[in-house]
């Protein structure tokens, strides 16, 4: 790593010319930014400054300054670090924390959408909706201190019909490395009031570059919200073993596919429910006798339609969908309503080692995934949960921090992932401690070549992310 000529005080002073001295500091001790600055990153690789712009305009001035100073630009919505992006790994870094950019610009009741700045958290947006008594539901992360923009950047998914957070985005505003401020979709048309109502403008859509990648810093976005459903029918089902879980997935799959079940279905392992309860300060989850898996879902909509789908569900599950009970149910119920479950502002709740795999929505596949994960990771007591979507399922694996302390958990996780990718499964997302390595190992040549080209185009000073040199035709010749 080349050390830039400026000492830290000088660096801070330069950044302060844009944001004021109050909004520049060293990384607060103990700050982990949701695992961005976790144990996997030695302290000498941490950013040299945290800078907190108040506006997109300030960020437009900061970005070229950081480039000119030879630093990499890291970014995070706030201290929770959800969706945070690392800057160029071989440069000293400046971390842009957008926590002050937390204006809720508009929540449109009639159009059921919000326009918010990148630092707005789910808790803030929920409070806004609640105070105005708007008939709108959110689909929040479990941690209400997470920013909405960060959730999208990390491709988090929730359980309501608006649970695909990426799909609920409508229009992005971002600052690029050169300081340009762009808007995507209809928002790029001066005077348009459809920026958050219609996703597409004219020409190529750049929106997808601003999630799970670092091509710029999102400053604002449009978000579709769900009109409060007239009827909400949540249900839970205990599943005594893996085989019955697999069977249930097969029987639910047609209902998922035709949209009969509007949202995502969660199947949580007992350990996953227990960890959530512990997080909520409740150790009821540890009680014995709980089933190994519990399925949670809900129907949303017009009462007769909900009842109709409820009957189909009863046929598929061999029992009428019914509410659950106990503390885990209470928590999952709130999740099914799109509510956040707790507020953890410093991001220490984020599990350092976690990853989510993709599979076809079939029972055989979930069994195969389960088997492969346990083969490699049983010793780390992984907490598992499955989400069923319309056409696929995901398996999320979290390795509890306690068990990771000894043994090469990251190595074992990477090995498990390698096995499963080799078996034809896909990778959905992963925690920062794994993401860089997984991207390096598993991005195929063609896609990597395209990413390199895009970075060359949009990040000419190489401040945002590492990239290979874009030599036309290189990927092809390598094949």
């Amino acid at each position: 790593m080349t050390t830039p000529p400026l000492d830290t005080a000088q660096l801070h002073a330069r950044l302060a010319t844009v944001v004021g001295a109050d909004h520049v500091s060293a990384v607060p001790s103990g700050a982990c930014y949701g695992g961005l600055l976790g144990a996997h990153l030695s302290a000498d690789l941490h950013p040299r400054a945290v800078v907190r712009p108040a506006s997109a305009e300030q960020l437009q001035r900061l970005a070229p300054m950081i480039a000119e100073l030879g630093h990499g630009l890291w970014s995070s919505g706030n201290a929770t670090g959800n969706g945070a992006q690392r800057g160029h790994p071989r440069k000293a870094g400046v971390l842009v924390d957008l926590g002050r950019m937390n204006r809720i610009i508009d929540v449109d009741r009639r159009g059921a959408f919000a326009v918010i700045e990148a630092g707005v958290t789910y808790a803030e947006l929920a409070a806004h909706v609640r105070e105005r008594d708007l008939p709108l539901w959110l689909d929040a992360d479990t941690n209400g201190a997470h920013t909405v923009a960060g959730s999208i950047a990390s491709r988090y998914t929730g359980l309501t019909p608006y649970g695909d957070h990426q799909a609920a985005v409508c229009g992005i505003e971002a600052v690029l490395a050169n300081g340009a401020l762009l808007r995507t979709g209809m928002g790029a048309l001066p005077g348009s009031d459809c920026g958050a109502r219609y996703k597409y403008g004219f020409g190529p859509a750049l929106d997808g570059l601003f999630s799970r990648a670092h091509f710029g810093v999102v400053t604002r976005l449009g978000l579709w919200l769900m009109p409060a459903p007239r009827k909400f029918m949540p249900f839970a089902l205990a599943l005594p073993d893996l085989a019955s879980m697999a069977r249930t997935i097969d029987r639910l799959q047609p209902l998922m596919l035709d949209g009969g079940l509007g949202g995502h279905v969660l199947i949580a392992a007992h350990s996953s429910d227990a960890a959530l309860l512990a997080r909520l300060g409740n150790d009821a989850g540890r009680s014995s006798g709980a089933p190994p898996w519990t399925l949670y879902g809900a129907l949303y909509g017009v009462p007769e339609m909900v009842e109709h789908h409820g009957q189909r569900l009863a046929l598929a599950l061999d029992s009428a969908p019914a509410a659950g009970q106990g503390a885990a149910w209470d928590a999952r119920l709130r999740q099914l309503r799109g509510e956040a479950l707790y507020n953890d502002a410093d991001g220490h709740d984020a599990c350092a080692l976690s990853f989510t795999l993709l599979a076809p929505a079939s029972g055989a596949d979930v069994q195969a995934l389960h088997h492969a994960v346990l083969t490699r990771l049983a010793e780390f007591a992984p907490r598992l949960s499955v989400q069923l979507a319309r056409r696929y399922l995901t398996l999320t694996v979290e390795l509890p921090d306690e068990s990771v302390a000894d043994g090469d958990a990251a190595g074992a996780a990477l090995a498990a992932i390698k096995d499963l990718l080799g078996a034809g499964y896909g990778l959905h997302s992963s925690s920062p401690a794994l993401a860089a390595e997984l991207t390096a190992r598993h991005t195929p040549a063609g896609l990597r070549h395209l990413y390199d080209g895009l970075h060359t185009a949009l990040d000419p000073y190489a401040m945002l992310a590492t990239r290979g040199k874009f030599t036309p035709d290189k990927a092809r010749r390598k094949r």
């Binding site: 005077g191 348009s192 004219f202 949209g259 056409r391 997302s429």
Partner: protein, 523 residues
Amino acid sequence: MKASASPAQPIDAANGKRALDALRTALGKDWVFAAGDQALDAYRDDYALAPHGDTRPWAAVAPGNLKQIQKVLEIARRYKLALWPLSTGRNLGYGGAAARQAGALMLDLKRMKRIIEVNERAAYAVVEPGVSYLDLAARLRKLGGRLWVDSTGSPWGGPLGNFLERGVGYTPYGQHSDTQCGLQVVLADGTVVDTASGIKARTDNLYRYSHGAWVDGLFNQSNFGIVTRIGVQLMPAPAGYRPYLVTVDAEENLQALLDALRPLSLEGLLPGRPTLMTLPRAAAYGATRAQYQTGAGPLRAQAHSRLMAEQARGYWNLYGAFYGAEALLDVHVRELQNALRAVPGARLHFADTRADDAAFKCRAALMGGAPSMDEYKTLDWVGAGAHLDFTAVLPFDGDVAQSASEAARELCHAHGFDDCAEFQLEPRALRLEIRLIFEREVVAQQRAAHAAVSALAARFVSLGHGSPRAHLAFMDDTAASYRWSDDALAHASAAIKDVLDAQGVLAPGKSALWPGRHSGRRK
């Protein structure tokens, strides 16, 4: 048959000959079409607009596979040729099978027409560029009809070309940019990119995003690559299906109608892409204007009244459909009926009373997953017709729509056209598609249509209503309207173009993406 037009010449004769020789060696001489070859005539805009000028190609090639595309790219780079990819080449109303400029080497992918996969369990298909909606529908029918295709009103076009134009259909899978899943793309340098996971996982066509950046949207309405494969999600055939028509007589009740429908639309109770047509637009499916009025100029009130009486329709005609089991269909109908109580003169019709309604038949087919070519009949409204569309996106708001519709009508009439518009309903927005139907071979009418779209664009853009799609002739102007913050979006796209296609061989000018714009190196 007409003698073939002489092609435009982008390079000198000696290099031209060398390039053609190289192409023939690469593809076989049967798949290279040059001067003197009648096949070259196909690469034009059948709905040409005189003011747009010359778009004659230099030559055309029809590769049969990926390797051959890579070879063509190599040759194009070597000789600095402009390659214009076409899939099914039916982009009628937006430039047809023509390139943006004369002198292009047309890259016709019609021969690549394999349906690579139909996955019935997860309800998707993977197809090549040459596969049309008709082809895909035929395959699905053969498999037992458990899956529906979402076709446009132009089903000899196909899922791949239509997605790239950001086209739309009319079932609940009608926003084609939302139902695409997985692409294979060849970049200008020949690199093959598989989006989605990119690792050839079994989930590549199940999950739309990858582990990293989601790049698929970059290839929409652009020239960043040649797309050679697409995954499209298909709708499982529903347990039941009930198309409907809502008519409202008075033009000024548009606002009341849309405001009554808005909450339903947001709640997902108006599934698909209901289309709300003006009287002339709907009437044109089953009549010609000559039956109602002779001479030029827009239809007069008297003709309107006759049309409404004879076709039993209103000035506003909303074609939509409900999906699902009978019990669900009944709930849908009740909800719609309740909403329509607030709309003066609104009437709800079903198939039983619309046997004579040609529009109903066509729309019911499209909304029911069955491709229909019947929309082409609407072009006979003026004889041997063609059309040019101007589309604007508006908020789903009755008041805004009412004024937009009045502005559209005024401008159409001022240019001598009937008010052939339709609103397509999305949950939060309306797409207002204003159709200028003109006599294909009459240059004065081509000019009038061109002038009308210019005027419509100027008016709508000034009102903040952007246009999401454009004919070749209007791409530069349309792109220029998205100029917020010093053209930031255009600059970013231009920067990408210059890196990914440094020599500018791919579709120069597509969506106003001209090579060398970012680096300042202009042609």
